[in-house]
Symmetry: D2
Subunit: 181 residues, 4 copies
């Protein structure tokens, strides 16, 4: 059973409503995210790195376009360090969960992946929903708490407890041993 | 746009792990559930009442069998008052969300239903997940807080705030005016 | 990898539009269907027998009700010999394919089933669509051609060739060796 | 209710198994495809043009990359005239049907589209499966028979009859009046 790192919604212009509340938490979590990304990439082809990202504007399945827009935005300093490389997979999502109306479940199955490590944003929204949708599909979920960013600290804390208690997730941190097997 | 009342997981033997923690909350919420059920039934064919319930044992899509098992269990006093009548629809689910691998979305579409009122259990689990999956599908969600039962009060409280803030749900109570339009 | 026999739409009142054209073919295919059903049941718990059937009338997930309606209909002679027994699984479907908005994929996964043998009706409709949806999900499909019934012989013949050529199905007959492994 | 033109699998390198059998039919159907594409584009924002295309190689949701690969292939003469423009939507699919594990159903809903005109390839495979999956979702389907390409003429003919008879599709031609309302 293989593991994938899933990077959620980090190719972002931060122009949405709650961005001001979110940004400080993203800055805090960036080192944790970079650390798990670095650890995953070091594993080479043993670990897939999969970006799952909201679409902006019209639906064109064009990750070059999405990346360019985010890098041209006011918060490119939060995008640039996490940008996909040539080995990254990339899935565009329409709604909150990384699984809803996306090919992700199919891709994981094809790559023999039974466990996903989630990083990115927002802890009490997309990360929570994705952990649930993974659990419903009998996938194992690990969430390094210092590699996810939130809008509301108290809801994020409740979300992490829900993942741990009700979704069988392993809530750990970015330096945990064995994060990628 | 029509409204449906969705009764979640109340045809139940309460033999699962957390039942002891859940039961007092079910007893507290039972009057609220009965009140919304009564209000929905009074509306006649204007409001569909849809039971969505976990399957027990082998998958036989047999609501008679499920109901009999629950009524024969030790907590029939919590099942009997809420039992489906001949006008109720009934959907069997395999996992937590009322939408996952069930025909519910299709049924709602066929009946022109764009808004669901959720009652039943568990607030911080199936109710939360179902509210999310409804929101993702652009359905309006109303949750009467005195008609849902929880295992952990603090997680239930966080779940209701998540529904209100992040899923556009109307968190209200069982006596609210206009609950069924 | 386990095998299941899937019996499609045989709990039926035959009141739909094309019933007159369908009935002679059902009578022809009945012995083949009974033969595969008998072979599957002989295997005991090694082979799951799963009925997947259209719902009639209101959605009540009630297989007793569906069966009673079909047995009370004018063609009970085509229903009675194929009726589910206490070991059968039963899934209600809303539309043509056995997979669309049903828990079937989930159930097959939980039972470790990677191969399905399809019997029932209609060859060039539900059987074809179900073979396709199984193939898309990387399930192996076997269709005994003497155990499926059609409305239009020429379309049924084309459908079987499509299944064989484009969906990797094994089109065989009800007496084939190794039908259930 | 709006209409979309869906262009299926025309961004293609034609390196798959049956390409030799498919190519003559693609050449025959190219003028019909160009005609419907031109008619759709003339309608401006009234008609969405949506490319739904197989992914080649690793999953990167990158339509620039897919297009470049196809234009660099040996059959760029069949790709170039049909290339997406800046107004086209683009959905990447993993398997045969345009709906399976893609955001297409969601996109159509968001754009208020209730009717799709299908062109592209392969008539007796992806086009057939997509017509079925559209019909199951209660979408109207139109197929101009001179704008779809096949591998086997007899199966394509059966497929078109199935679409017409069993999936309520309007099988017409690329010059038909009212193709885009």
């Amino acid at each position: 059973m293989r593991t994938a790192l899933v990077v959620i919604d980090m190719i972002n212009t931060y122009e949405h409503e709650d961005a001001e509340q979110l940004l400080p938490s993203v800055r805090d979590a960036l080192p944790g995210m970079l650390h798990v990304l670095d650890r995953a990439r070091t594993k080479g082809s043993d670990v897939e790195v999969i970006y799952v990202n909201d679409n902006f504007g019209r639906w064109r399945s064009n990750h070059d376009e999405l990346l360019r827009t985010a890098l041209d935005g006011p918060h490119s300093d939060l995008v640039e360090p996490l940008r996909p490389d040539d080995d990254s997979l990339f899935v565009v999502k329409a709604r909150h969960s990384i699984f809803y109306e996306t090919p992700l479940e199919y891709l994981l199955g094809q790559h023999g992946i039974g466990r996903i490590v989630l990083c990115g944003q927002v802890t009490e929204q997309c990360v929570l929903y994705s952990a649930l949708d993974a659990h419903i599909r009998h996938l194992d979920v690990t969430v390094p708490r210092d590699a996810v960013a939130h809008i509301h600290a108290d809801l994020a804390d409740a979300a992490l407890r829900m993942m741990e208690r009700n979704m069988g997730a392993d809530v750990t941190d970015s330096t945990a041993e064995g994060l990628f097997g």
